[in-house]
């Protein structure tokens, strides 16, 4: 069993890891010849299936196992992975490989990096107060000349402390950082039964507004609900339970976020959002029989509604850091699925989707 790869798009990889880590500490990573898939299934809360083309985050990708497509299944903690990727961000080069240390399997990340301001590192005590490195460098180089002949700038020379050539020649070196992430190699049988959830055809497809905005307002609602729950003395029983937000969307470009408690009822509505067109070729039912067509024909007052846990929803929305397009699929009173399209910075045509199966609640 072998796995070795160089890392690329570390920023994207790191943001994805952070988004997954906000839901669950441990992820199931499934590698095969073409795809890298991260799956996170918390005990309670939304689950995520992130299926990425290997070339999105890997380069010189080598994989070898006894399974079909060289599949390797690993279980790994997301916190350490995120920490390691933080070390790798801004590095000159980083790679990842499956290895063993003291008989324990590890994902070992080797990072070649420099310290940030090494070039400007003034090596004199308290030298930090003097301006930029450039000016000082000049003074050092010309310093020796001033010593020999009496120079009109002699006074100035004293302003610039002279340092020996040896010290100024000392160059910042590359450091090699090794971050070992503990992993567990999973037997194919043990993951065979974990399946991606199946849901019936959704009633409403809608592109979500900018997630930072949606998250800020959702979090505000959640906090308001928590505040009213703790101040209202009669709600002692309900206080222990997380606030639920009501999310609705229609096929006419509107998304509605609503919070109802005993004392307040607030709603935020977004209009003029896009309801993306479905590809008829992908559908199992004819377009005119599709639930979304029925919802569209029923007009702007026909909403598909789900209730989500405020805190869980906040964790889900942290995927906004990936800065991708997000399509929400509502199945009225039943389910909410988010498809997050990972943006590509090069022109590869592969489609990388992070799918969130958002936990929803009945009334």
């Amino acid at each position: 069993m072998r796995f070795r790869t160089d890392l690329k798009n570390i920023r994207t990889f790191s943001k994805l890891t952070a988004a997954l880590n906000s839901l669950e500490r441990i992820a199931w990573l499934r590698l095969d010849d073409d795809t890298v898939r991260f799956t996170v299934i918390p005990d309670t809360g939304s689950q995520v299936w992130a299926s990425l083309s290997a070339e999105l985050i890997f380069d010189n990708y080598h994989l070898q196992s006894a399974e079909a497509n060289n599949t390797i299944n690993l279980e790994l903690p997301l916190g350490p992975l995120q920490r390691a990727l933080k070390s790798a961000s801004g590095s000159n080069q980083a790679n990842l490989r499956l290895t063993k240390r003291d008989g324990v399997p590890m994902l070992s990340m080797t990072i070649h990096t420099m310290t940030k301001d090494g070039a400007q590192d003034t090596r004199s005590g308290g030298g930090g107060q003097f301006g930029g490195g450039g000016g000082r460098g000049h003074a050092r180089v010309s310093g020796h000349g001033y010593d020999e002949d009496l120079d009109p700038f002699d006074d100035a020379a004293e302003l610039f402390p002279q340092e020996s050539l040896e010290l100024t020649m000392k160059r910042e070196r590359e450091k090699v950082i090794t971050q070992d992430i503990p992993v567990r190699v999973l037997h194919p049988d043990s993951v065979e039964l974990i399946m991606q959830p199946k849901v019936r055809e959704p009633d409403v497809y809608i592109q979500l507004p900018p997630l930072l905005q949606l998250k800020a307002i959702s979090d505000r609602f959640t906090k308001l609900a928590l505040t009213t729950a703790t101040t209202g003395g009669t709600r002692a029983a309900g206080a222990s339970q997380n606030p639920k937000l009501e999310l609705s969307a229609n096929m006419h470009g509107s998304l509605r976020l609503r919070l109802v408690t005993e004392t307040l009822d607030i709603t935020s509505v977004w209009d003029k959002l896009e309801n993306p067109e479905l590809d008829p070729a992908q559908l199992i039912v004819p377009m005119n029989e599709h639930p979304s067509t029925i919802f569209k024909d029923a007009g702007a007052n026909k909403w598909a509604t789900v209730r989500v846990d405020g805190k869980d929803w906040s964790r889900v929305l942290s995927v906004g850091r990936l800065e991708g397009r997000v399509i929400a699929c509502f199945t009225d009173e039943h389910a909410l699925i988010l498809y997050v399209y990972v943006p590509h910075f090069d022109d590869s045509s592969s489609e990388d989707v992070v799918t969130y199966y958002v936990t929803s609640y009945s009334t």
């Binding site: 988004a19 906000s22 441990i26 309670t44 809360g45 279980e75 790994l76 903690p77 920490r83 070390s87 003291d102 008989g103 324990v104 590890m106 310290t115 940030k116 301001d117 590192d121 090596r123 308290g126 030298g127 010290l167 000392k170 910042e172 070196r173 450091k175 090699v176 950082i177 090794t178 971050q179 070992d180 503990p182 992993v183 567990r184 974990i194 399946m195 959830p197 199946k198 849901v199 019936r200 930072l212 905005q213 998250k215 800020a216 505000r220 959640t222 906090k223 222990s240 846990d309 805190k311 906040s314 964790r315 929305l317 906004g320 850091r321 039943h334 936990t359 929803s360 609640y361 009945s362």
Partner: protein, 408 residues
Amino acid sequence: MAILNFTLSEEGVAVFHDSLSCMFKFSDDVCLEARKDKLTLTTLNSSKSAYICFSFSAPRFFSRYQFEGNAQYRERFFCQLYNKSLLSVFRTRQGGDQARDGSATIERCDVTIDDGPGKKSRLVAKIACRNGITASHSLSFEIKAPTHAKFDKTEAQNRWTISSRTLRQLMDHFGPGIELLDINTDDETRVVNFTCFTEKVQKRGANANEAVLKKPLHTNIAVEMDEFDDVQVEDKLHIIISVKDFRAILQHAQITSGELATWYSNPARPMKLSYGGDGILCEFVLMTVGEKDAMSQKHKNPRPNAAKAARPELDSVSHRDSSVTNETRQAQASAPKPPQQKTPIRPRQPQFEIRPQPMPPPASMRSDSLFVGQADDDQLWEPVNPGEDEDEGDNARLEWRATDEPVM
């Protein structure tokens, strides 16, 4: 006439505060020792495995410094103070960079210490703020001779020097949950390795498999020897210290962009680190972890109590003054070691307690405003109230179906 009088400038107050807060990470108490030419702050942690000494040069560091002494304290004066109360005196009222222009910034601070028969033993700090407010703090102290850790530089044949800023940045690569730092060299590859690990043993049992994944990140940083000045280290020597202590030191070392120098000999012998700033010299003596303890990490079945790496105490010396008061004699008598002690006593093995790493600050929305901030701020993506475990509500949660059956 007071025994000691000194004035700190605005910057002096900040440096003084930084020094005290560094010491506070090691111990609750701080010893102050004043002489004609310098003021020294020292502290020793409770497990006696770390000793810190900051010396402030009287003419260079202070705007004014006057050591008068009296019949009792002719050469030097010493006392022990409660660090927390000292810290609160020098703390700038507003945090962050705003404080630079803030009107509540401390502009100067006059400190007077008096003691003696018929006088009140007090440290009085008069704070003058930029906005015209002056505050006067009066702190009590205990007359107690400082304990100094003994460090024999001739014994410490290993040494290296490196830019404190570089070292500080390297520490950023170490993740949470680690306890020990192993510094070792490899002459073949010409590198100095900084390896962080933990000896904490996860509970074995039904969840043994999951425990494996709870291990913290194991980090190694290889730095080329060429990046150091004056490297002279025995090949393959492993020297192990507490990460927490090392972090606290490097945090404080930010006051200088200069070099940090270390000296050490063998495992279970003290290691010294030092760096200087403007008119200030910072010295640390840390007891290193014994080799035997370090070796247990290599074994497949670590002892359950290996988490508590034993570190011997530092040797201490205490100067006996000719004119010490009764009170002082008592203090010295109760000091951990008699001052005349020359030969190191057989090191006891105190349980070197490793406190858990501080958790990152709780993520929260910067502002309660409905207006949305800058997308660049990664904090904004943190979930609302993380860490709070959700309680299962009365509401029925709709479960996902992980089957192939079509759901209609």
